[in-house]
């Protein structure tokens, strides 16, 4: 069993102890966190801005080569069949799908898709982080 009277005295001594920290330590801490948050947002803005730029340039380049690859493949002709001989396509749909799959230049299409996705995701992040930065600037002057 603890000696509660003794504990009470100790507690009193501890709680009455003068805590000499600089005035506004809380505010100093909050400001330090805000600064780090802003630094993080700016870093992300730069990073995603750069990624956006790279992926857009990459998309444009890959788009051209994908277009060429598509042109030399039979995929265009296979797709044209959809409009010219739709009943045949429906009648032989399994063979049609298999031939279409073989003719599509998947690598080029996948590259274009990935780069466009990267560009869109980066643009989204740029917009989001810009909003955060503007919002925090409004809040904190």
């Amino acid at each position: 069993m603890y000696n509660t009277q003794f504990e009470t005295v100790i507690k009193q001594a501890l709680t009455e102890e003068t805590s000499v920290h600089s005035a506004g330590l809380s505010q100093k801490i909050i400001t330090a966190i805000e600064k780090r948050k802003r630094a993080g947002v700016i870093t992300r803005l730069v990073l995603f801005g750069f990624t956006t730029l790279l992926s857009l340039v990459g998309s444009a380049l890959v788009w051209r080569s994908a277009g060429q690859a598509f042109a030399v493949s039979e995929a265009g002709q296979m797709l044209a069949l959809l409009f010219s001989d739709f009943t045949i396509v429906v009648g032989y749909w399994r063979e049609y799908l298999s031939s279409l799959a073989e003719s599509i230049p998947f690598v080029s299409v996948a590259m274009v898709g990935a780069l466009v996705w990267a560009a869109l995701a980066s643009v989204y992040q740029v917009i989001k982080n810009s909003f955060v930065l503007i919002h925090s600037a409004v809040w904190h002057g």
């Binding site: 000696n3 003794f6 001594a13 709680t15 920290h21 809380s26 801490i29 909050i30 966190i33």
Partner: protein, 198 residues
């Protein structure tokens, strides 16, 4: 005055309420500062460590286990931050100081606190004497007393902060009280002659 619970403030902050974090910081700055000052002494270093503690809390707020209490988690981070700081300052290579323990004091040996001892002093002197005695207690006892009595944490929470078993913390708490009482009885002499009685 913010009256939301700490855990609610963390949840609100994670849900996008930026002011909840400020409220948490304002609520706990003094306590965390006092706690870090136990390791580093009052001053700029303790302030820096308190600041670093809250930055870590902010950074790892998503890792906070919502089923647990916030305060022990916060003080656990504060403790680790203070110890890391001392390590980098190379002033605490000997971590044994923080693990020094258990010299066989037990509650059975606890002499009744002679009222006359403290009664001889004025209230202010009493408090000063006790604070001096606490200051020369080994760290492991001081921390337990501080967290339990000043920060009003349960001994289970203190155990969580220190990463120790509850029984160990209970034992340290009792021994801390015994040592403190001995120090007060022996006029703050940490090593009284063997056989001396209170």
């Amino acid at each position: 005055m913010e009256n939301r619970l700490d855990e609610k403030l963390v949840a609100d902050y994670l849900a996008g309420d930026e002011k909840a974090l400020s409220a948490l910081i304002e609520r706990h700055t003094k306590g965390v500062y006092n706690f870090t000052a136990r390791f580093l002494g009052y001053g700029a270093e303790a302030e820096d460590v308190a600041q670093e503690t809250f930055i870590k809390v902010w950074k790892s707020s998503r890792k906070f286990d919502k089923t647990k209490k916030f305060k022990p988690w916060l003080y656990q981070i504060a403790r680790h931050t203070a110890i890391d700081y001392l390590r980098t300052r190379k002033q605490m290579v000997d971590l044994n100081k923080f693990n020094e323990d258990e010299d066989g004091d037990s509650m059975d040996e606890l002499p009744d606190l002679a009222p006359s001892l403290l009664d001889q002093l004025s209230a202010r002197e009493q408090m000063e004497k006790i604070r001096e005695a606490i200051a020369i207690l080994p760290e492991i006892y001081r921390t337990v007393l501080d967290l339990h009595l000043r920060e009003e944490m349960s001994l289970i929470e203190v155990a969580e902060v220190l990463g120790e078993k509850e029984d160990t913390v209970k034992s340290r708490y009792r021994r801390g009280l015994v040592r403190l009482r001995k120090l007060l009885t022996n006029g703050l002499d940490p090593s009284p002659p063997a056989g001396s009685s209170g």
